[in-house]
Subunit: 280 residues, 2 copies
Amino acid sequence: MAGLPKSRLPMTLHSFDEAIALTPRDDNSFTGCTSPAYANMVGPFGGTTAATMLQAALQHPERLGQPIALTVNFASAVAEGEFEVHARAARTNRSTQHWLIEMVQQGQTVSTASAVFAQRRSTWSRPEAMPPEEVPAPETLRSADTSRRPAWVRRYDMRFIEGGMPEPFDAVEQPHSRTCAWVRDEPARSLDHASLAALCDSFFPRVFIRRRKPAPIGTVTMTTYFHADEALLAAQADRHVLCCARAMNFRDGYFDQSAEVWSDSRELLASTHQMVYFRE
Amino acid sequence: MAGLPKSRLPMTLHSFDEAIALTPRDDNSFTGCTSPAYANMVGPFGGTTAATMLQAALQHPERLGQPIALTVNFASAVAEGEFEVHARAARTNRSTQHWLIEMVQQGQTVSTASAVFAQRRSTWSRPEAMPPEEVPAPETLRSADTSRRPAWVRRYDMRFIEGGMPEPFDAVEQPHSRTCAWVRDEPARSLDHASLAALCDSFFPRVFIRRRKPAPIGTVTMTTYFHADEALLAAQADRHVLCCARAMNFRDGYFDQSAEVWSDSRELLASTHQMVYFRE
């Protein structure tokens, strides 16, 4: 930002932009640093890791088009502190571009990712899935108390319609693990593909909701499909988005999660899927 | 197979095993060749490409555990003929292993993939989603006529409950794009992770079902979660599995597909997601 005239500098950078900031090191690599503002119980929030991986492609000089898909594999715990991100356009076609991205600490791979970018054109378009009917407006709901949660949770304003964090954990098993909530960055920040990538990892673990008891868990891989282009995200601005998640199956140490993020005008912004390790 | 005594050689290899066969070239790379038996309209069936990528990790001497997740990015059309597959264990942990896999032709990347493998242990397990109730048994349904389809379609026995290929394409737009069908390899072959990975790409394009008209399409990325371990797949043997697919959104050149593959004892074997390019 050194080159920008002072009048165009934001007064303070949003903590999310600080968390995903990357400094170019050479043609295909960047350095970054985990942010205490997005700390999780161990290491940083996976959502900021995902957004940082996407950011490496987004700010790469060879980047063409907008993100269509992002898969992030959480290969090991990321340590607090510095990291390198290596990003390579493995293939550039007329309208699509395929990226391979790797995050490295102390010479070891801690996360891998692939991203598909595309130049989108106007075509026949139709929704097929719809968001839940008649959900209460975010203004009518209480923000979840995040004061005793890890730092990253306090970076979101979450207003649960169903399936919030069980309080207390009473170990009464539920018939399903569904969550539906209005969520936005805290403080408010205009939605873009990077913040949407992070938001897609902001759901509490499905096994906590289903069993109403905590367990050691870790997302091993997450895939997000971006249905929204920049214009649609810009139209959503910094208002709450509707986030709905569920699991299909818990078996032998792994469960899945599928979720959707909807605009407040009922447009699908992202669909996202993950496989999560759990113990016990 | 040169080293095997003759009595242990199968009489004939299944055409699927021929299609995904890889010859080790050095520690981290293999050579293979597309199979006319699984040809698509242009190049090979994406399902065999996906299975071949997984196969590189499955037969790698460093491989630990069983597949949990596979993401394949179809970076460009694969040409008929030879290819190389490069596979690298980017990270090996106590119970998980993260693979990066690349398919190359003429020095160009044609496909990239990541796979997560894990040693699964017995834990609390529960289904959450269920397959459709009261579907007719496969024996009571007619096999779809695949005689005029690309070669790969004839490698599957497909028995549609709903959402088969529109015949004719009458351009009468449907309210949804759902498909439900019993499917198995043709000729029958015992299910394993490689054939399940291929099966997950055997759905006809959702936009064909929804619009009942053809269009240029191409899957750009596909992610499959393996809920089943080897024992559960072995129990399913070569009987038909129940495959159900739908889209959530068609917008500006891309649509998604989500699908599940169920055993005939109503166990979730795989859930699979893709983003697909379409024109017009």
